[in-house]
């Protein structure tokens, strides 16, 4: 229980003047009711920082986590509404200001929002409800235990007296909040667990939703920035005078941002975006490329391969894998390769910052409003309270918008030219500048004796997000994400060999779980073949002490009719994973017709605790599956030290017609929620390649794969 934040509660008449938030959109909703996401103009008494009730009983609930498509705008208020005992269809939902002291951590990464906020939001709702009940009980001079709350009213059991929350809120908000309010039993939930239509969706069907790129700040200049193609290049010379003469161009200047090292660029600032972009195209920049042109995907791959025999760091160990693998027969080995990936949110990266003598103000789509505030304060050398953050809806994030480098570009440019500056990246910038999902080499070694898996060694050779700069040359546990150590293999070892080089990497949906399970779960399939066992049976056998994995495996067996007879021209593959606490099993069905291989169906069975809004969890799983499939089919390559694929024509996203049938089954649970935003992504590549092995007899160990190349 966050007693600190509850004790900070105070009676507060929230008015337009005290709450200045960016309006993020206003439109008639599906019900015809106006929806305005901004908390500006909110009226009523705040019983705590998340709950405001007007004297007429109108309830406003705040969501404090940025919305990037994951549905948190609806889910956080649903948790509050459940314990507050109000009708969720009747409440107003608003987006809170960026203020970690008042609302707690606001960063949206790692599928954390619901997991981390579930208990706190229940406590906030339940405490407020108790304060309202106690106020009514005092007024009626009865015991609070004789009263209950329902649909925004407090009711006295025996006398049928009742009062609307609006009649009680002013007095209730002056009470001390209880630190241990009674919480509902999950069996009594009426809102949590219902698929309630999302309030942000009507804004996204008529163009009313405002994203960072749509914000217009009076007097702002637009900037387009030319950056080094080889990430670490520094500027030698550029044709400033020539570009300055172009129509609408106001400034041409050097800028920089930090992305695991200083990254330089030349910014062209103009009255319109188009003029800035035309100016940028006319730039001629001579880069000191530090000899990086000799780097390519091939040189990187062969460097990783030369370190295959490095012992690296032992990250996990059970029994004596080394001993078991160095003696006797039955040892099999395999190497798995994954490429770099870009995040590719559909809204290109952008930020607006205005730096004045008073401080700084930011407008934009960010997964990290609090980190943006502290970082801008640091680079501008001003107190954090003089930085105001206005965060909008995001046109996708996928991890990219947790970084602060674009805000830094805008801040430095605004400081230099004395006007608000809106930086807009191009799609090419987004795909070629990084940070990326790291490429990796995974080396697997296993031993099967008498049908039993006796030993397994999994070596991960890759870059580490937390350890890209500085002198630490040992791999840390971060890089073993998604390696399933729960398999009861008696001799098991996970090792890591750290790679350090000039290409910036960062968090990408599911992070290391987007690469390691491809190798691990494919190799479990290889071990099943070696042991002569069904891959589902082998997994069950190795997970006897793990009820959650067993549950999803047993359910997927039934739901996909796994035990049916093999059909000619069809293949299927299985994989399991755990990500952010969620456990899931996936089956991919493939077929070959007229020589063409097609992915027919992807079925996911999930055990992820209580689902606050099940339809949102299904949507997140569909999205994760499609992003995982896209990453199995397409990837980035390095050529002459730079990313080769510049835009969607060479680095495609999956299109509508390529999308297989996707089925998602959520198993009932009364356990606390796990993360739902990345479930399904880790299993797509291994379940797909296992299915293709089942169909063709060929094992694919390198991504991206080409369905067209299969025969």
């Amino acid at each position: 229980m966050n007693t600190h934040s509850l004790s900070r509660r105070k009676f507060l008449q929230v008015s337009a003047s005290s709450s200045v938030l960016l309006a993020v959109g206003c439109t008639p909703g599906s019900t015809g009711k106006p929806i305005n996401l901004s908390s500006e103009g909110m009226t009523g008494a705040s019983i705590n920082q998340f709950i405001t009730i007007a004297t007429d009983g109108a309830v406003t609930l705040l969501n404090h986590r940025p919305e990037m498509g994951q549905g948190v705008f609806q889910s956080i208020p649903m948790i509050l509404a459940e314990e507050l005992a109000v009708d969720v269809e009747e409440v107003e939902i608003k987006q809170s200001e960026a203020d970690p002291e008042r609302y707690g951590r606001q960063m949206v990464v790692g599928s954390h929002s619901i997991q981390n906020e579930f208990h706190k939001m229940r406590m906030m709702g339940a405490a407020a409800k108790e304060m309202l009940i106690q106020t009514a009980a005092d007024r009626w001079q009865v015991a609070a235990a004789e009263c209950y709350a329902e649909k925004g009213r407090v009711i006295h059991n025996s006398s049928s007296r009742s009062a609307n929350y609006g009649e009680l809120v002013e007095d209730a908000s002056k009470r001390t909040a209880p630190t241990e309010p009674a919480l509902k039993s999950p069996a009594d939930f009426e809102i949590i667990g219902q698929s309630i239509p999302r309030r942000d969706i009507p804004l996204k069907t008529n163009g009313a939703a405002i994203y960072g790129i749509d914000v217009d700040v009076p007097g702002m200049l637009y900037a387009s920035v030319e950056r080094s193609p080889v990430f670490v290049g520094t500027i030698k010379e550029y044709n400033r005078e020539e570009v300055m003469k172009m129509p609408g161009v106001r400034h041409v200047l050097k800028t920089e941002r930090d992305l695991f090292g200083r990254r330089e660029g030349i910014a062209v600032l103009a009255d319109t975006y188009w003029a800035a972009f035309q100016g940028r195209k006319a730039l001629k920049v001579e880069w000191d490329t530090k000899g990086m042109e000799s780097q390519s995907s091939e040189t990187i791959a062969s460097r990783y391969m030369t370190q295959a025999d490095d012992e690296g760091t032992e990250l996990f160990s059970r029994g004596d894998a080394d001993g078991a693998l160095s003696a006797g027969d039955g040892v099999i080995e395999a190497a798995y390769v994954t490429p770099y990936q870009a995040h590719v949110p559909m809204e290109p990266m952008n930020a607006i910052v205005s730096v004045t003598s008073e401080g700084a103000e930011f407008w934009g789509s960010t997964q990290n409003p609090n980190g943006t505030r502290s970082y801008l304060a640091k680079i501008l050398d001003i107190p954090e309270k003089r930085v105001k953050i206005n965060y909008t809806l995001m046109g996708g994030g996928f991890g990219r918008r947790s970084r602060t480098d674009v805000a830094e570009e805008a801040a430095r440019l605004s400081q230099a030219v004395g006007a608000p500056v809106k930086v807009i990246w191009t799609r090419e910038d987004d795909q070629t500048q990084g940070p990326f999902r790291a490429c990796s080499l995974n080396l697997l070694k296993g031993k099967v004796t008498g049908g039993q898996v006796e030993a397994l060694e999994h070596k991960v050779i890759t870059q580490e997000i937390r350890n890209q700069t500085g002198d630490k040359m040992e791999a840390g546990r971060q890089i073993m994400g998604g390696v399933n150590t729960h398999y009861s293999i008696p001799n098991l070892s996970v090792r890591g060999v750290l790679q350090k080089h000039y290409i910036p990497i960062s968090y990408w949906r599911a992070v290391y779980h987007s690469t390691n399970p491809f190798a691990h779960e494919s190799f479990i399939d290889e071990l099943a073949v070696a042991a002569g066992k069904d891959p589902l049976d082998l997994r069950l056998e190795l997970l006897q002490d793990h009820p959650r994995f067993r549950r999803v495996l047993e359910e997927v067996r039934v739901l996909t009719d796994w035990d049916r007879q093999k059909v000619a021209g069809k293949g299927r593959g299985l994989a399991i994973a755990e990500r952010s606490g969620a456990h899931f099993a996936m089956v991919v069905d493939v077929s070959r017709k007229a020589g063409k291989v097609k992915i027919d169906r992807i079925t996911t069975v999930l055990d992820l605790g209580i689902c606050v809004n099940p339809d949102t969890v299904r949507a997140q799983t569909e999205g994760s599956v499609i992003m995982g499939l896209t990453a199995a089919l397409y990837g980035l390559t390095i050529e002459n030290g730079a990313i080769k694929e510049q835009n969607f024509h060479t680095y495609p996203l999956l299109r509508y017609g390529q999308c297989p049938e996707i089925e998602t089954f959520i198993l009932p649970s009364s356990a606390d929620p796990d993360g739902a935003g990345e479930s399904g992504l880790p299993t797509v590549a291994p379940a797909l390649t296992n299915a293709l092995f089942d169909l063709t007899g060929n094992r694919i160990r390198k991504l991206p794969l080409s369905l067209e190349a299969l025969v």
């Binding site: 909703g29 008529n206 163009g207 994030g397």
Partner: protein, 150 residues
């Protein structure tokens, strides 16, 4: 001379260069921000608008090419978010981040305009024109199917 465009049945006189792509004229001059920048090379379809009822990629079309034609943006397809495509999108809870959805919806509007019961192949051909990173395709399929097979 100002650029004269007809957007959503209103005449706009805009002080923009006529070789500027229609996308940026719509966004930065007409201040209609529902039309989105996605790739700049007519690959993703986030910038889709209707030009005399046909979907086009506004990021590569010079604004001068739209003079004298009817331009329809997402803001122009209904007064109250109640075009059948919008209603189907809300009913099926299609959008996630929502950024590409103007392009998706306008493409679907154009598809059913002259062909109220398109085949699966016709739906696929039309909808292949717009990319979605969130992965809303299964719901787009449900929304269009439900709407056209009543």
């Amino acid at each position: 001379m100002p650029l004269k465009l007809n957007i959503n049945q209103q005449t706009y006189e805009l002080d923009a260069d006529d070789d500027m792509p229609l996308l940026w004229v719509i966004r930065d001059f007409a201040k209609l921000t529902g039309t989105k920048f996605g790739c700049g090379i007519a690959q993703c379809g986030s910038c889709t608008v209707l030009l005399d009822n046909a979907p086009i990629k506004s990021c590569v079309l010079p604004a001068s090419a739209a003079v004298g034609k009817q331009i329809t943006t997402i803001e122009g397809i209904s007064e109250n978010n109640d075009h059948p495509v919008q209603q189907a999108w809300i009913e099926e809870q299609v959008p996630q981040c929502g950024y590409c959805q103007s392009g998706q919806i306008l493409t679907a509007v154009a598809l059913i305009e002259g062909n109220p019961q398109p085949s699966d192949e016709e739906i696929e051909t039309a909808m292949n024109a717009v990319l979605c990173r969130c992965g809303t395709y299964p719901r787009i399929k449900k929304a269009i199917t439900k709407m056209t097979r009543k």
